[in-house]
């Protein structure tokens, strides 16, 4: 199940695990990314917490936790080469995985049609 936030993140939910990244639209707006900072594995995040930082040549932006949970895995590849986020935001450019605290929280996310409408 693929969901989105109004803060331009995508969330792929698989059972009680969510994979989180930023949308291609967000990556395009940010421009060339040069720095990504990810949360530590094991970190507990509440929905809306600052989870990661992305910096383009021009500016820094926060990435928020779209749901509450514990960080179970992070994508070191985007730390080593932030340009992966620009080239494949929805795939190889994922940021981190969360073990969800409450799967029902996913009901508050946008579906793809709603997100497309948001950025139209």
């Amino acid at each position: 199940m693929l969901k989105f936030t109004k803060d331009h993140e995508w969330v792929k939910i698989d059972g009680d695990t969510a994979t989180v990244g930023i949308t291609a639209h967000a990556a395009e707006l940010l421009g060339d990314l040069v720095f990504v900072e990810l949360p530590g594995v094991g970190k507990t995040l509440s929905k809306g917490d600052n989870a990661a930082v992305v910096e383009s040549v021009k500016a820094a932006s926060d990435v928020y936790a779209p749901l509450s949970g514990t960080v179970s895995e992070v994508n070191e590849a985007v730390v080593d080469d932030p340009s992966i986020v620009n080239s494949d935001a929805a795939g190889a450019g994922w940021f981190f995985k969360l073990e969800l605290k409450d799967v029902a929280e996913t009901d508050g996310l946008l579906d793809e049609a709603a997100y497309q409408q948001l950025i139209a």
Partner: protein, 381 residues
């Protein structure tokens, strides 16, 4: 993801349509709607300028013509020396110099270029300061001195291949040296060109009639070696070149001595010189030249990958201790391949190689004082 800004009710340069037609992303800058980047993106635009030639719209900058009654330009030169601490009387016809307006506390109201065209002087000032600069001149120059805005577009062509590209339209540009100014005939229009810029590369800044701007920009962009470059890359290029941005690295609270711009103040304007002092804040700047200052502008090179941007506080130690300075601008340097920044630190900690720490998101990250510029300049001297 935090938000991305849009544009409001803003001025447009004569090249607005050109930018839109070339797919630029427009942003608000100094009351103008300006291209921050084109589809190529800031990184590639930056690298292209360093290796080939980049075309920039800098029409938002202010251009002022200064004249004297009866064409006695020395009167205008003397008048300007009363507000700018450089040698303008000795500026030959066909040459340009860098300078700054100072205030009574020795701070920098704006930095600018001053060109001598024989019958007039032309000043190029920063976009955000142009109205204030004009008011400052009207207040301080004697009544007979003419001050007129020049309503032309301003185009910069920068990079190692800029001269070769421009020479296909105006072959005489190739005989110009760094900081020469000359009227070039481009597509049949008289255009005032200087061999200068603000990227650290060889290149030209060209004042072109508004009605010819789009045709000239399109023709230049049509040359194989030229790409359109936005303000994003303009900023990373000037930062790597160690050049100051007014409002960030220099302002009314920083003196030319603290900013290490004293190379622009020649002997003739210093103590013992024939035209020593006689500009706002001279007492303070003279004293600082003699006694030194407590802080200096330096290059800062973060050890890790995290960009250190303007406003970030700098410490001498990894934990505890007082703030000893701050970054005034910074980001990723595409040609350096790592983050670069500049800022002010205590003079005792300003030697290149000094290990300092920037506080970023609650963590102290190592950075070293570095020589400026971060990349060697390519000026054609």
């Amino acid at each position: 993801m935090a938000d991305v800004a849009g544009t409001g009710d803003l001025l447009r340069t004569p090249l607005y349509d050109f930018h839109v037609a070339n797919g630029a992303r427009m942003v608000a800058f100094a009351s103008y709607e300006m291209p921050v980047q084109y589809p190529l993106g800031i990184l590639k635009e930056h690298l292209h300028t360093r290796s080939s030639a980049g075309l920039f719209d800098i029409s938002h900058m202010g251009q002022l013509s200064i004249t004297a009654p009866g064409g006695h330009l020395d009167e205008a030169k003397r008048a300007l020396e009363a507000v700018i601490p450089i040698d303008i009387l000795g500026l030959p016809e066909g040459r340009q110099r860098y300078g700054f307006f100072t205030n009574d506390t020795g701070g920098i109201l704006d930095d600018l270029m001053i060109a001598n065209l024989g019958d007039r002087l032309v000043l190029i000032v920063n976009a955000a300061r142009k109205s204030a600069d004009e008011a400052h001149l009207r207040q301080h120059l004697p009544g007979g001195i003419g001050i007129e805005r020049i309503d032309s577009a301003l185009i910069a062509l920068q990079g190692p291949k800029a001269a070769g590209a421009l020479a296909r339209l105006a072959p005489e540009c190739e005989s110009m040296r760094f900081m020469d100014v000359k009227t070039l005939k481009i597509l049949g229009h008289d255009c005032l060109a200087s061999r200068s810029g603000y990227t650290g590369e060889d290149g030209f800044e060209i004042s072109v009639p508004e009605e010819a701007a789009e045709a000239i920009a399109r023709t230049l962009l049509g040359l194989a070696e030229v790409e359109a470059i936005g303000l994003g890359a303009r900023d990373s290029l000037r930062l790597e070149a160690g050049l100051c941005l007014h409002g960030s690295d220099i302002d009314e609270t920083t003196t030319p001595v603290e900013a290490r711009l004293t190379w622009a103040i020649p002997k003739v304007r210093r103590a013992g010189g024939a035209r020593a002092a006689g500009f706002p804040g001279a007492d303070i700047i003279m004293r600082q030249l003699h006694e030194g200052v407590s802080r200096l502008r330096v290059g800062l090179r973060p050890e890790g990958r995290a960009p250190v941007r303007g406003g970030v506080q700098v410490y001498a130690r990894e934990a505890g201790g007082e703030v000893i300075g701050h970054a005034t601008s910074g980001g990723f340097g595409p040609s350096v391949g790592s983050p670069v920044a500049m800022g002010y630190v205590e003079t005792s900690l300003s030697e290149p190689g000094t290990r300092l720490f920037a506080e970023l998101r609650g963590k102290r990250l190592a950075l070293d004082v570095a020589q400026l510029p971060f990349v060697p300049s390519g000026y054609k001297r």
